[in-house]
Each structure stands twice: as structure tokens, then as C-alpha cells.
Amino acid sequence: MVNLKVNGRPYTLDVAENERLVDVIRYRLGFMGAKEGCGEGYCGLCIVLMNGRPVHSCLVPAWRADGAEIITVEGIGSESSLHPVQRAFVDEGAVQCGFCIPAAVLIGKWMLDKGLAKDRETIRWAYKGLLCRCGSYIRFEESVLRAARGD
């Protein structure tokens, strides 16, 4: 049995030994914001926040999340009250194909939460674990800076 909180709501689940956190989040709990692009920890599309930190959820066995608090893109804002990073992504035109955007938004939120969103150099290193083939990296940086400024 694994107890975990996802987006503020507690869940108790029976998980298999080889079950991955990404599959639990997506297919058992229905939070489809987390995507999968390689299953090997390279692309970062499956990034979620676990106890406040970004993790590649394809590399985390579900049992490791026992007692953890998980945040997915569905858990940080809504249409009527967007998270500042989400607002900034819209205003900066950071969305292209959209597939990596949930992970990109979560990395931005984490930087804001930790007070890391100071300069572009720091932000671009934070995004190193996420591949965006559309090449929106500079837009991500500008978005996080904009959110940090509170524009």
C-alpha cells in the first residue's frame, strides 16, 4: 500500500513493485498533464513536483512516492486563477506544440517557490532536464523572469 497526496488530495493505492510513478499519476489517477517521451529520464516530459522538487516521474518507482506530496500541472492553477508562471507563459507566447509545457510550467513554479528565478543563466540551467524540440527555451526564461517580476 502506498499513501500519497496528489494536488492536495490523498490517495491510497496498491502498487506493483515495478510500477512507475508516471503511470500511477496518468492512468490510475487520471492526471494526464504529465507526458512521456522516452521513459529513460532524458526528455523530461514526465516531470512533476515531488515534495516540492522536480522529478522525472518515469524514473521513480511508485513505492518511492509513499508519503510524498506530488504536484502536477493540474494542481497549480485554474482558468479563473492562473499561477503567475502560467499567466506569463501565455503572455510571452511560450506555447508551441504544447507537449512539454506542463513540465516547463512546473519547473518555473519550482524556481519561483525557491527564489531561484533571478537571472536567465540560472533559469536556463534549471530547464536543462527538459527537451523542447520547438525550441521555446528563451520564452521559458522570459516567462519565469516575468512571473518573478510580478508583471
Binding site: 494526464m32 507526458k35 532524458y42 493540474e74 507537449f99 512539454c100 524540440r133 525550441g135 527555451y137 528563451i138
Partner: protein
């Protein structure tokens, strides 16, 4: 439609001031994206869904002696095995040419070719089923090099031979041109296979509706290509098949090509046979093996010029290495050959472009479609010529660029001044001369790092031109609330082009872009709108959107005129209202107008259509006008070369493009930045390697794409507007274009840094280091 409406509409088109067009408006689908709401195909996966996976050839060329599926059928969870014998219709999955079977019959022609499908309860079952499948092969002689493949003794990959297209350009008298030249240079350039690598892997979900319709939801660029093949492969009545494009996580060409047909047909076949929903997808490695790659090119350019830098003659020989099936290779060579001289006026041109089948994995449509490779070879050639003549590279270019009245390599007359505008803006914004001198001063210190600045220019024939029927259909409907719904067979997969269509509609109807809703492309709801390729959505689709909006206006105008007591030509649609020109006190809300129209029983569903003029050129001489209009651009790159490691870092780029008319500036900015970064990857490290036809760079560990840390710190950009002949409001194609120049521009910058032009991409550390050592400037600590 009455003449009056059309006339007034033309006035709107010519209006200097737009209300929505050219303003920084957010993408209509951005809100969904940042909330994680779009439904991508794999989000449909559930416990009751069957999986399907292909048994694939490990050989680049072999006869199939026998297959044995008995062990597979015994695997727990395997429910079905499908070979070519089980295909109810035609075994044809070729996107344009019917040369590629969905499942091999008696012969495989490339590594990874599908031989059979295993259907099972979950991924583990199909993986085990595939592993248990026995195929006996008799390997055949194979050929991987295009020049080898053209020799008479080479193995014949298709019945008609290995040469699938020979594109010719014969302009002027090239021999005379060379004879009158003071300087003649000849260089060979090479570019490797590359992978478009959309982040979302190809995936399709198929199920049977209660009424027997087979519905397929998939990640793709061209729903109608997929639809037509599914109908043919399953031999179903066309009305019993429905294809819907799900949110699509990147296209870049491969998703317009062969692999989306494969996954859709796999899912459809398995769903139809087993009467259950099926998901078909690839592993990342499998996707990279089977999706169409950017073709490898070998280009020899020979150029003659006067001592003061006037181009007199240009001879190009281009070899495109295709996979064993056509895909789009015969068209890619055409675009590459037409653009072989770069954007310069050369009086005498002779070019031969050959597209050649080999037993490498599939290659086909990839963002840029042959233009990045042609421009790399042309623009590095121009730089080498400048060096030979002792001229500044910018000066040499300005002397020869296409200006109004110039004739291209195909003798097409250029009417607009877009290119000169781009070059001048790029030189100014990048502080070209100043920065060039600064780099040279820096390099005189002879330290570990060297810096360089380089430029490259482009022209890009717009939209399909000779590559296919260039038309689009856009459907609009309005409901009681005044919301406008836009639906088309053109698809969104990243560039924001459908937002451009929404912007155009909002402009004509005077409403907020947020009141235009995009509905998913659905073959049951829309007419075929041609493929979403060739950067044609804004240009061609935009014209269809304008036509649809105009048709709505022709329905609404008489009502509005009556309500406001004015003539229809006095109406102004703006800010969600319809007003009388010059008297803003008289107005009616757009929503109210729509309500009245619906109350009167008027049908507010319209269909807009546009078809570009057909383009003509002569196949024997290549002379004519293959494209309706051209996009122009200039890209300056500044690099730092680490002479210890051979690593190249792009410090800054200055990108200027003539977009004709900027309709969606936020979208343009993202596409220009993103395309520049993608192109930087092509320039510096992307290389898809086959060894004897077997890919060795599978997965992200084998094939790198740019990460955030590798992106240039700064991409300065500007757009200039020199109205295009056919595009919506004069817009020119931009989706693919930013990926065309980085290879050439960065290679020229590296050459400025190290004093030598490397003629093969990628400019990876080992290759740069080799050059540095040869030049004696590798750093020894």
C-alpha cells in the same frame, strides 16, 4: 456574393490599420496548454485498450524465407497476429507513391521495416509476442551510398531502378560563364541524415463506434492522407471511417509523412479485427528508426565570378540519399535544386539534382524540405568565394542578391525588395562590421578561445508550388452567443498557424480573437484541405479563412445595414460591434446581430476556399516560375570556438525575415527563436548515423537535440514586410523557414573564427578539432 461586399472587403484588406492583425494576441489554444488540458492521443489509454506492436526487420535488405507466429500466439495476453495476408484491402502505406507496403510481403528493404503486427492486452504482452516471433531472412546485397546506388551493377531496390528523380536547371550558357570568370571555385559539401524528432512519438487510437464507424484519433499533420490510406488498407466504405487529429506534440515533417499512416493503420486493423479499442505507438528508438529522416545530401558547387565579385556561372550537382521508398524524396530534391544558387542572381546556371534510393532507413519530409542543405552548400560557397576575392562576405552578397527585377536560377522574376531589406537590417542590428573587427582583434590574442561572426541569406519558394495542389478549406459557424467556430483540415502542431486564421477571422468580423474557437480537424466534419506542410497554413489557409469570414459578412451586412439605417458599405465591424462609419453612436452588438440572423432562420455556417495559381516550369531546363512568392531572410551568427576541445558555442544570433505581413507576431517570435535553435542543433551536433544501413544513434543517448543550456543567450530578431503576391494580406510562409539558415550561418561564423571553412555538418567537436589541428591552431595548454 454581391460585388459590393467583395469590393469593401478588398478595402479592408488594404487597410493600413488593423484591429487584431499584427497585434500581440495570445494563441487561442495557449490557455488550455498551460493548464494541461489538451488531449493528446496517449491520454486516451485505459485498461480495456489493446496494444499493437510491429515485428521489424533487423536487415537493411533481405528476402523473407519464412515466418512462424506459433510461439507468439502462445504468449499470454497476445490476442492477434496480423501479417500482409490479413490485410483486407490494399497493402499500401506509401504517403504519395504506392511503393511501400504496410507489412512486408516477401522482401524487406530497410532496417526496421514492419513484417507483422502483434496485438495484445498490454505492452508487456506485445513486447513478448514480438520477441517470440520467428522470421527467417535471406540477406540480399544492399547499397547505402547514392553514387554507388546509381551504378548499373548496384542492387535494384525498386523495379524502376534507384534514381527516382533527376531535376535539371539549364539557364544561359554555363561554359561561357566560367570562361569569362576571373575566379572559379569548386567545393563539395555534405550533410548527414537528421531526425525531426517531435517530442510526442507517433501514436494512434482506433475504435469501432456503435454504428460500425471505425474512428481513429491520432497525432499527425495530415488527417486526410491518413484517412485515405486507412480506407484503402481496410477496404471499408469511406463513410465508415473517421479520422480526428488529437492535440499533436510536434510535427516537423515526419508527422506529415509515412509513420503516422503506419500507426493509424496498425490501430485501425487491430481494432477492426478484434472489435476493441487499440492504441498503436512506438518506443522512442523504434520511432527514430522508422520515421522519415532529413535526407543526407552531397552537393558539389562550382562558381565563377569576376574579380570584383559579380557572379557569372554556377554549376551544382546534388545527390539526395533517400531510403528505399519514395516518401517525399523526389520532391525534396526538386526544392533543393531550385534553391541551389542561394538567393543570388547568376546569369548562367547548370544544375543536376538526383534523388536516389538506398537501403538506409526512411527519409522524407523534414522542416525545410531540402532548403537547409541547399543553402548550406550555397552560402558557405559564397563565403569561400568572398575570401578568395578578398572581399567582405556581406559586400559580396549585396553585389549579387536578388532585387526587384532579378531573375532566379529558374529565371523567375523577383518583384519585391524583401531580401535587401533583410540584409540591411541584419547588418545594422548585428553591428556586422564592428563586431567582425572585434572578433579579429580578439583572435589576435591567440588564446584558447576564438570568435567569429558569419552571415547567410535565404530565399524560400512559398508553399507547395510544384509539390502539389495548393488549396485550403476553412469552415466557420456562429452560434447564438456570438462565438465563431473555426474548423479546417489544416492542423495545429506547434507553430500557432491556426491562431493566425482565428486572427484573420476576428479582424474581418470585428470580434475578439478569444471569441473564435478552434474545433479539432475531423474528416467527418470538414472537407479535405490539403496537407499541413510547406508552411502554408497562414498563407493559403489564411486566404480560405478570409473567404469564409467574407461569406459570413455577406449574410450579416444587409441585416446590420437595415438595423442601423445605413448602406452596407458604411458598416464598420470593430470591438464586438457593428457601427456606422463616421457615426459611432449608431451601433449594434455583433452578438445581437447574430441572434437576429439566427432568429430569421439564416444559416450561419459557411465554407471558405482558396486555391493558389498553378505554377509552371519546364522539366528539361528547370526554367519557369515554380513558386508563387518567396520569403527572404538573413541570419547573422556569432560563435566562440574552444580550440582545446573543438566545442562551438553560439553566443548570439540576429535573425531578420521578410514575412510579407506579420499577422501573428507572438507566434512569429516563438517560431523564429525555436527554428533558429533547432537549426543550431543541425549545425553543431545532430547526425543520424547508419552503419551498413543499421541506425546506431537511436534514443536520446545516441542522438542529441538542443537543450536549454545550448541555446544562444540572445536571438535578436526583426521582421520586415514586403507584401507577397498570394498570401493572406500579403503574408509569406514562415513555419519552416527559420531552420533553413543556421547551418550555413554558423558554419561561416566558425570559419571566421578559425580561418577555414568546414564543408560538412555537423560541426561537432571532433570535426572542428581536426580542422584546428590541421591549421596548427589547436590549443595546447
Amino acid at each position: 456574393m454581391d460585388e459590393e461586399t467583395i469590393r469593401r472587403f478588398e478595402e479592408i484588406l488594404k487597410a493600413r490599420e488593423f484591429y487584431v492583425v499584427g497585434k500581440k494576441v495570445a494563441r487561442v489554444d495557449a490557455l488550455d496548454a498551460i493548464l494541461g488540458r489538451p488531449i493528446y492521443t496517449s491520454d486516451l489509454l485505459s485498461d480495456r485498450v489493446l496494444w499493437v506492436r510491429a515485428v521489424r526487420s533487423p536487415h537493411p535488405h533481405a528476402l523473407i524465407r519464412s515466418i512462424d507466429s506459433s510461439a507468439t500466439r502462445a504468449v499470454r495476453g497476445v490476442v492477434d497476429v496480423i501479417t500482409h495476408r490479413e490485410i483486407p484491402g490494399v497493402n499500401d502505406a506509401g504517403s504519395l507513391t504506392s511503393d511501400r507496403p504496410l507489412l512486408a510481403v516477401d522482401r524487406v528493404r530497410h532496417y526496421g521495416e514492419a513484417v507483422a503486427l502483434v496485438v495484445g492486452e498490454d505492452e508487456v504482452a506485445v513486447d513478448e509476442g514480438v520477441a517470440a516471433f520467428r522470421v527467417e531472412y535471406d540477406p540480399l546485397p544492399a547499397v547505402f551510398d547514392p553514387v554507388e546506388a546509381l551504378k548499373p551493377e548496384a542492387p535494384k531496390i525498386q523495379e524502376e531502378g534507384n534514381l527516382i528523380n533527376h531535376v535539371k536547371i539549364r539557364k544561359g550558357n554555363v561554359e561561357e560563364g566560367f570562361a569569362s570568370s576571373d575566379v572559379v571555385i569548386r567545393n563539395e559539401f555534405r550533410t548527414p541524415f537528421m531526425d525531426g524528432m517531435p517530442m510526442e512519438i507517433e501514436v494512434a487510437y482506433a475504435y469501432l463506434e456503435p454504428d460500425g464507424t471505425l474512428t481513429c484519433i491520432a497525432s499527425m499533420q495530415n488527417p486526410f492522407d491518413v484517412y485515405n490510406k486507412v480506407v484503402r488498407i481496410l477496404r471499408l466504405p469511406p463513410e465508415r471511417v473517421r479520422v480526428v487529429q488529437a492535440a499533436t506534440g510536434g510535427g516537423f515533417g515526419p508527422k506529415s509523412d509515412e509513420s503516422p499512416i503506419d500507426v493509424a493503420a496498425y490501430a485501425a486493423l487491430a481494432a477492426y479485427r478484434n472489435r476493441r479499442p487499440v492504441i498503436a505507438t512506438f518506443t522512442r528508438e523504434e520511432a527514430m528508426a522508422v520515421q522519415t529522416k532529413r535526407h543526407s545530401f552531397r552537393i558539389v558547387n562550382e562558381t565563377g565570378a569576376t574579380s570584383d565579385g559579380r557572379l557569372l556561372a554556377w554549376r551544382s550537382t546534388l545527390y539526395l540519399t533517400n531510403g528505399p521508398y519514395y516518401s517525399k524524396g523526389h520532391l525534396v530534391i526538386q526544392r533543393a535544386t531550385f534553391h541551389c544558387t542561394g538567393p543570388y542572381e547568376v546569369p548562367n546556371v547548370w544544375a543536376d539534382g538526383y534523388a536516389v534510393l538506398t537501403n538506409n532507413t526512411l527519409a522524407g519530409s523534414t522542416r525545410g524540405f531540402g532548403a537547409p542543405e541547399a543553402h548550406f552548400a550555397a552560402e558557405v560557397q559564397m563565403d569561400i568565394l568572398a575570401k578568395k576575392l578578398g572581399m567582405d562576405p556581406l559586400e559580396l552578397r549585396l553585389k549579387n542578391v536578388l532585387r526587384p527585377g532579378s531573375l532566379t536560377a529558374t529565371s523567375q522574376r523577383i518583384d519585391d525588395n524583401g531580401l535587401v531589406m533583410c540584409v540591411e537590417a541584419a547588418a545594422r542590428l548585428s553591428r556586422w562590421s564592428e563586431r567582425r573587427q572585434e572578433c579579429e582583434r580578439f583572435n589576435r590574442l591567440n588564446g584558447r578561445y576564438r570568435r567569429g561572426i558569419g552571415i547567410a541569406l535565404l530565399y524560400h519558394g512559398n508553399t507547395l508550388g510544384p509539390e502539389g495542389e495548393d488549396f485550403a478549406v476553412v469552415h466557420l459557424s456562429v452560434d447564438q452567443s456570438g462565438k465563431v467556430r473555426l474548423q479546417t483540415g489544416l492542423t495545429e502542431y506547434g507553430t500557432g498557424a491556426l491562431t493566425s486564421l482565428a486572427i484573420l477571422v476576428a479582424e474581418v468580423l470585428g470580434i475578439d480573437v478569444r471569441d473564435v474557437e478552434l474545433l479539432r480537424p475531423d474528416t467527418r466534419a470538414v472537407r479535405n484541405s490539403g496537407p499541413t506542410v510547406a508552411s502554408r497554413t497562414t498563407v493559403i489557409g489564411g486566404r480560405a479563412a478570409l473567404d469564409a469570414a467574407r461569406k459570413l459578412r455577406s449574410i450579416l451586412d444587409p441585416l446590420a445595414a437595415e438595423a442601423l439605417g445605413c448602406r452596407t458599405d458604411e458598416l464598420v465591424y470593430k470591438d464586438g460591434k457593428v457601427m456606422v462609419a463616421g457615426d459611432t453612436t449608431r451601433s449594434i452588438a455583433f452578438r445581437e446581430l447574430v441572434r437576429r440572423a439566427i432568429g430569421m432562420g439564416l444559416d450561419l455556417r459557411v465554407e471558405g476556399y482558396y486555391k493558389a495559381p498553378e505554377t509552371k516550369w519546364d522539366r528539361e531546363t528547370g526554367q519557369g516560375a515554380p513558386y508563387n512568392q518567396y520569403t527572404f531572410g538573413a541570419l547573422v551568427s556569432e560563435v566562440e570556438v574552444d580550440t582545446l576541445t573543438g566545442m562551438v558555442r553560439v553566443l548570439r544570433m540576429t535573425a531578420v525575415y521578410d514575412v510579407g505581413k506579420a499577422i501573428n507576431p507572438l507566434g512569429l517570435r516563438a517560431v523564429i527563436e525555436g527554428g533558429s535553435i533547432m537549426g543550431m542543433g543541425h549545425a553543431l551536433f545532430e547526425e543520424f548515423v547508419h552503419v551498413d544501413g543499421v541506425p546506431v544513434t537511436l534514443g536520446f543517448q545516441g542522438y542529441s537535440i538542443p537543450a536549454s543550456s545550448e541555446a544562444p543567450l540572445e536571438i535578436v530578431q526583426q521582421v520586415v514586410e514586403s507584401e507577397g503576391k498570394i498570401g493572406a494580406l500579403g503574408a509569406k510562409a514562415m513555419g519552416e523557414i527559420p531552420v533553413v539558415l543556421p547551418m550555413a550561418s554558423i558554419a561561416n561564423a566558425v570559419a571566421h573564427a578559425i580561418g577555414y571553412h568546414i564543408k560538412e555538418t555537423p560541426l561537432k567537436p571532433s570535426r572542428v578539432l581536426e580542422a584546428l589541428e590541421e591549421l596548427g591552431i589547436a590549443y595546447r595548454p
